[in-house]
Each structure stands twice: as C-alpha cells, then as structure tokens.
C-alpha cells in the first residue's frame, strides 16, 4: 500500500485521539466523561468478573452454532440487500483519494486496513461479551477480529462482484444464491433423515448442525470460532487463527484479483449514504426516508387549523414524520408485538392486574423510545435559526413543535390499549381502567417529550451514534436519563399523593383517585411549555453543536 495512505491512517487515528482528549479539557467535558466512566467501568468489571455461564448458544457450543449464525448473516446480506452495491468511502476520501495518484488496488488495501482498525473496538467489545464461551481473552479477541474482518471482506467481495458482473447479472446471482441456500438446506435435511415434524426445534437444530453436508460447507468458518474458543496458544489458537487468516486472505485475494471499476459506484453510493447521514444528523431516525429516489413526496397531510400558529408548526413536523417514519413505525409495531404479545399471553390469566403491570412497562419503554421520534426541536437543530425568525410567540412554537411526537406516541399507545381492551375478557373494571389510561397517555407523553426538548435546548447535541471510546456521550445519556426519571418521579409522586388523599376521602374509589391525580400530570406538562419556550429563546444558534 502507498506510504501516503499509511500516513493518512496514522493522521486519522491521531485526529480521533485528539478529538477525544480535546473535549476532556473543559470542565463540562471532563465531568461528562467521569459519569460515562462511572457507568462503563462497573459494567466492564461485572462482565469480566462474572463466572462463565457454561455451554453455548441454543444449547450448543459456540463452535457449532457460530458458523451457522455467520453463514446466515452472509446469506441474508446477499439475498436481502438492495440491488445496488458499492463500497462506502467517506466524502473526504472520495475528494482526496479518488482523483489522487493511487491505484484502485491501493485504495482497496487502504479500505481493508481501515476496516481492520475500525473493527478493533468492535472485536474488543464482542470478545468481552463472549467471554463466557472462551477460556482465554486473547483467543477470544483474535477470533472475533478475524470474524469482523471476514464479514467486511465478504461484503466487499460481493460488492465488487456485483460491480464486475453488472446489476442485472447480480440480481440473477442473488436469486441463484437464494436457490443454492434452499438446496443446501434440503441437502442437510435429507442427510439428517427422518421427519422433521417429529423433532423439537432444539433437537432439529442439533441434528442439522451434525449433518455432514453442513459440516463440509461450514468448515472454513469453523476456524474463526475454534480460535475464539481456543484453550492453548499452541496448537489450538495458532492453527485455527492461521486457518481463519487464510480464509480472509483468500477473500482479499479475490478482491484484488477482481480489480473492478468500483470508483464511480462507490462515489455515487457514498454521496447518497453521506446525504442520508446528514439527514440523520439533522432530523434523526427516518427523516427523509419516506421520499422516493427522485425526491417525490409520497404522503401529504391536510393543513391543520391556525390555532394561533400552532397548527402550521405542528403540520410541518407531522408531514415530516409521515414521510419519514414509515420504517420507524414498522419498527415500533414490531417492538410492540414482540414485547407486548408474550406479556399479554402471560398476564391473561390475571386479568385484573394486566393494566397495572403493563402501564409502568409502557411508561418505562416510552422513556427510552422518545429518541426514536425526534420530530420536534431535536430534529430541527439546523433549522433553529429559521424557527427564531417566525412571527410567533415562543410558547406557541414550543407547543407546535411538540405536537407531532406526542400525537405519534399517543396513537401508538392508544392502539396498544385498544389491543389490550379487545383481547381481555369483558369485565366491569376494564372499560373505566382503559379510559383512565387513555386520559393519562397524552399528558405523560407531552411531559416526556417536553423534558427531552428542554434538555436538548439547554445542552444541545446532534443525534448521532457516539464514537468508540467517547465516554462523554455515554455520560450525557446517563445524566439525561437520570434527569428525566427524577422529573417524572417528582410528578408521579405528587400525583400519587393527591390520588391517595382522594382515595381515602372518597371511600376507596380508585376511579376518583385517578381522576383527582390527572390534573397534577396535566399541569406539570403544561408548566414545561414556558420552560421549553424559554430554553428556545435563549438558545444561541451561533454556538458550535457537538456531534
């Protein structure tokens, strides 16, 4: 590889370290990092000091189940990926390296080395998580690094093959791969013998893993997991790691031998990915994702009534949410079904308790899920200057901005509540209880989103994944969560006291107690509006907002 590219890798690593250290020089940065470390170090100690959990995944050792999971990932990557394939280079690399005096192979070498370096923290984290399945940390780390590199090289090989053979042929190739996967599955089933209907899932999985066809196909991948689980340096680790390295070298050889004309596809795909990342920086998850390739709007919402300016502000956010949140809503629904269905099934026998158990769980989930719906000030970080020029009082603007996420979350929870009401056997208490819950949902959501926005406007940051080793980001998340939990605890505490007084005064009427506590929640939510408006007013749009 060109020495300049080695220099660039060195300079970028130095830049990353400088970035981490620079923010530690301020008191705020140092305190946030301390909080982050205070969470991270105990977690790390807990992981390291916890005794080994014993035998492996789904009742199997890692050696048997690992190759199956890795191969599944690789097949999924080919079969379910979009038709267009390309290797991602950040825009600066496209600007400086593509027109620079570097061959395509040199740039691929640079990409592989960069991938390996970026994979180090991932491998470290994964080897810590898999510590229970490994007797030796070094072996676990080496194996995980080889696996991370294999996944990247596999993806690069597929991308370059796709570019070499063309889009149409690649699509056919994907179908062929899917067909091959089905054939492989059938071959394995035939070798296992007997009728699969008679087996339990775990027994079937065990039999499939023991089939000779599977063992033949998966042997190159087995070396990675042999390395993870190696007990001695020689011959266990050295032999398996060498075999794993050979597999990766073979893939690297294919990549270099192809020498595909990948620059154009990479530049175009990188520009699109970068644009998507910029949209994420501005608007969080899902923003703009609902636009078609040509940028055509797919969904239009009718304009809301004026309402002193609240309507148009809310309409803009709702329109953004409607166009950007399709995948997000799908994710939320899947989450709801995945988490809610088993819980409902468990609680069906205890129908009187179902809402009492589900309501705190829903509240706790909402506390975390507010970041998934940033259709408010948090998603408008690059548009706050424009919002400040609008001829509206700040408090109306604040309500308008909070409207979309509150409505979305309330709708989702309303659907959940309807499902509970529909699936539960009829009883005297069910309808009033559901109505009380429905009355509480909007003010609690408003309270949570208002808290999120207040904290964001006072301590702004962009909605992006943290850099590895960025303990400040971790500290910030912990502090924000603590602030939200504390505020929610105070409000709920006061509401419970008011409700308890009414409960006693009304001769133990739960309904009246709930009704008496409701205004406390509503007033608390309303009290946050002037605070959010004040934070928006004092927000300095000229300040540097860290990622």
């Amino acid at each position: 590889m060109n020495t300049a590219l080695w220099l660039l890798i060195g300079l970028q690593m130095r830049g990353w370290l400088r970035y981490l250290l620079r923010s530690l020089r301020t008191l705020k940065g140092a305190l946030l990092a301390l909080v982050g470390l205070a969470v991270f170090v105990p977690w790390l100690l807990a992981v390291v000091l916890t005794p080994r959990p014993g035998d492996g995944v789904f009742g199997h050792g890692l050696r048997d189940a690992g190759p199956a999971l890795l191969l599944l990932y690789c097949f999924m990557n080919v079969v379910f990926s979009s038709g267009e394939r390309a290797i991602y280079f950040p825009p600066a690399e496209v600007n400086f390296l593509f027109p620079g005096p570097f061959s395509r192979r040199e740039l691929l070498g640079y990409k592989i080395v960069s991938t390996l370096i970026i994979g180090l923290p991932t491998a470290l984290f994964m080897s810590l998580m898999l510590r229970g399945y490994s007797s030796w940390f070094v072996a676990s780390f080496a194996g995980m690094l080889l696996i991370v590199l294999f996944m990247q090289l596999f993806s690069m090989t597929i991308n370059l093959l796709a570019i070499s053979v063309g889009a149409r042929l690649y699509t056919r190739g994907r179908k062929l791969t899917a067909a091959l996967a089905v054939l492989l599955g059938a071959a394995v089933l035939l070798q296992v013998g007997g009728s699969p209907r008679q087996w339990q899932p775990e027994e079937m999985f065990n039999k499939l893993l023991d089939a000779p066809a599977w063992k033949n196909v998966s042997w190159p991948l087995r070396s990675f997991f042999d390395a993870v689980a190696a007990e001695r340096l020689w011959p266990d680790l050295v032999q398996s790691a060498a075999l794993g390295a050979l597999v990766n070298l073979f893939l690297a050889g294919v990549i270099f031998a192809l020498d595909a004309q990948y620059l154009e596809a990479a530049a175009a795909a990188s520009a699109r990915i970068y644009a998507r990342m910029q949209r994420l920086r501005r608007g969080g998850m899902g923003s703009g994702e609902g636009l078609r390739r040509g940028g055509t709007a797919r969904i239009s919402l009718p304009m809301l009534p004026w309402l002193g300016g609240i309507g148009p502000i809310g309409w803009r956010q709702l329109t953004t949410a409607a166009r950007g949140a399709d995948r997000l809503l799908l994710l939320l629904v899947i989450l709801g079904v995945a988490l809610g269905a088993p819980m409902l099934a468990t609680l069906r026998d205890e129908q009187e308790n179902v809402l009492l158990v589900l309501a705190p769980v829903a509240l706790w989930l909402t506390l975390f899920m507010t970041t998934l719906l940033p259709f408010d000030f948090r998603g408008d970080i690059d548009r706050l200057a424009l919002l400040k020029t609008l001829p509206l009082p700040a408090w109306r603007l604040a309500i308008g901005q909070l409207l979309a996420p509150v409505l979305l979350m309330t709708t989702l929870q309303g659907i959940g509540l309807a499902v509970v009401a529909w699936t539960s056997p009829p009883s005297d208490w069910l309808l009033p209880a559901c109505l009380v819950c429905a009355a509480y949902v909007p003010p609690i959501n408003f309270l949570l989103f208002a808290l999120d926005n207040l904290l964001f406007l006072l301590f702004p940051t962009r909605l992006m994944a943290a850099t590895p080793g960025d303990f400040q980001a971790l500290g910030r998340s912990v502090l924000f969560l603590a602030a939200k939990v504390t505020a929610l605890g105070i409000v709920c505490g006061v509401a419970v006291i008011v409700g308890a007084v009414m409960y006693v005064a009304s001769d133990e009427s739960l309904l009246l107690a709930a009704l008496a506590a409701w205004p406390v929640v509503v007033l608390s939510a309303a009290a946050l509006v002037p605070l959010v408006a004040w934070a928006f007013t004092i927000f300095d749009v000229g300040r540097d907002t860290p990622v």
Binding site: L11, N95, G100
Partner: protein, 252 residues
C-alpha cells in the same frame, strides 16, 4: 495538449448526461466551462478526474489516458469539487502533509506556508478542518490542489464559497498556474467573475457542446455580426432554446 477529451459520452443507466463532446486545453490555457444546471459540466470534470468511468470516448491528462493509466494521469492532475469535503479530524497542516506524501513531494513546507499565507489561512494552520467555514474549506482544497504544481487543474465552481478577497486570490492563483504552463478548466455560474479570467469558452447544454472557442475570437465574430454581447448575454442567447432530453441510443 495537457487535457484532451475525445468523443466523450456518459450515461447514467438510461439517462444521457454527456453525449459525444470533444475539446482540448493547451498548457497556459484557461477554459471556462459554462452551462445551466444539469448540462454535464460536473460529470465532465469528474470523469476527467477519474471518479466517473466514461461510457465511451478517451480522456487524456498530460498525455495519459485516465482510464488506462489512471495513476500517471492523476499524478499530473488537481481536482477541486464544488463543495470540498475535508478530513474533519485532521488539521489544515496535516492535509498538506498528506498531499505532500501522496504526490511524493520534497521541500514542500515553504510552498505550503506560502499557500496558507496567500489564502489567509495562516492563523488556522493547526485548526481542525471541521472548524472551517465553506469558503475556508474551498480555499484549503484549492491550496492542496496547487501544492504539487499540477499540469492540469479542474476547478468546479471555485468562486461560490470564498469572500471577495478570497475570490481575487483564487483568480490570481489560476492565472499564475496557467502562466507556469498548467492547463486549467474552471466551471462556474458566476459569469461576471469569470469573464476577465478565461481564455477559452465551452458552453454545454443537455450534454452537448453548443459553442466553443477562444473568447477573443468569439467576441470578434460577434462584433463583426454587429453584436456587443457580454459573456452572460451570449450564454443566455445560446441556452434559451433548450434541446429535448436525450435518452440512451438516440442520436445527439
């Protein structure tokens, strides 16, 4: 010739971006690449820079084919895109360090210092690229481009970011490098800023060449026909009747 474009075609799927253009840029020449949005200017520059692969045709930089001998061609080339993206966590000086290593330059520090001074970036020498404004980013990208004294320079919209002094410096640098023997292509919409700089003009529209030639010859022709047009007026006259969008396989 330092830059040669022969029968260059570029298709994106079924959309035709550029269809059969030919031109050359000699050492010392400054070619102004004009055209409305979507005319094919950036596509042409990116193909010359080796980022896009031509669908058909030959592109030479300093005598090297950009497709067949990309490394040799790129070693003689500088390309500055319209919105340059830098390595955010590298300082300005580290950008120069990397460029010097990439083009295997010796004794480059003096030239880099001089470039920082001329582009008014001296006090930002150790600042991170992420802290720069768009104009400063453009200046730094231009500075990096000129550091290895390229024989062919491709500048895409270089006047949209910098302040007036910066624009003046950019123009001075372009003239100096042209005088030193570099062939330069400048693409810009700011025709008034352009007019006193370029020696040759090439007007693209819907991927085709509408007009090309030396600016003074073009002006002479217009004067003989009784027209006293500025470059802007000429541009509007040439592009006011847009050609229909071409699909793949259609004749130009």
């Amino acid at each position: 010739m330092s830059i040669v474009v022969e029968d260059f075609h570029k298709n994106y799927g079924e959309t035709v971006a550029v269809t059969g253009i030919d031109f050359t840029v000699a050492p010392g020449e400054i070619l102004g690449l004009l055209g409305p949005n979507g005319a094919g200017k950036t596509t042409t520059l990116r193909a010359l820079a080796g980022i896009l692969t031509p669908t058909h045709g030959r592109l030479l930089i300093a005598g090297y084919d950009i497709v067949r001998e990309p490394v040799a061609a790129k070693a003689a080339l500088a390309y500055v895109p319209d919105d340059p993206q830098l390595f955010d966590r590298l300082t300005l000086w580290e950008h120069f360090r990397f460029i010097a290593a990439a083009y295997r330059l010796r004794d480059w520090t003096g030239r880099a210092e001089q470039m920082l001074e001329r582009l008014e970036l001296v006090d930002k020498r150790d600042a991170l690229a992420s802290e720069l404004s768009r104009g400063m980013r453009q200046k730094l990208a231009v500075g990096c481009g000129y550091l290895h004294q390229p024989r062919a320079v491709l500048l895409d919209e270089p006047f949209t970011g910098p302040d007036p002094r910066g624009i003046r410096t950019m123009k001075e640098l372009i003239r100096e490098h042209a005088a030193a023997g570099a062939a330069i292509i400048v693409s810009s919409h700011l025709l008034s800023l352009f007019e006193d700089l370029i020696t040759t003009v090439l007007i693209l529209h819907h991927g085709q060449v509408l007009r090309q030639g030396r600016l003074d010859v073009l002006r002479g022709e217009l004067a003989r026909n009784g027209r006293q047009e500025t470059l802007e007026e000429l541009f509007f006259r040439m592009t006011e009747t847009p050609a229909p969008l071409m699909e793949s396989g259609q004749a130009p």
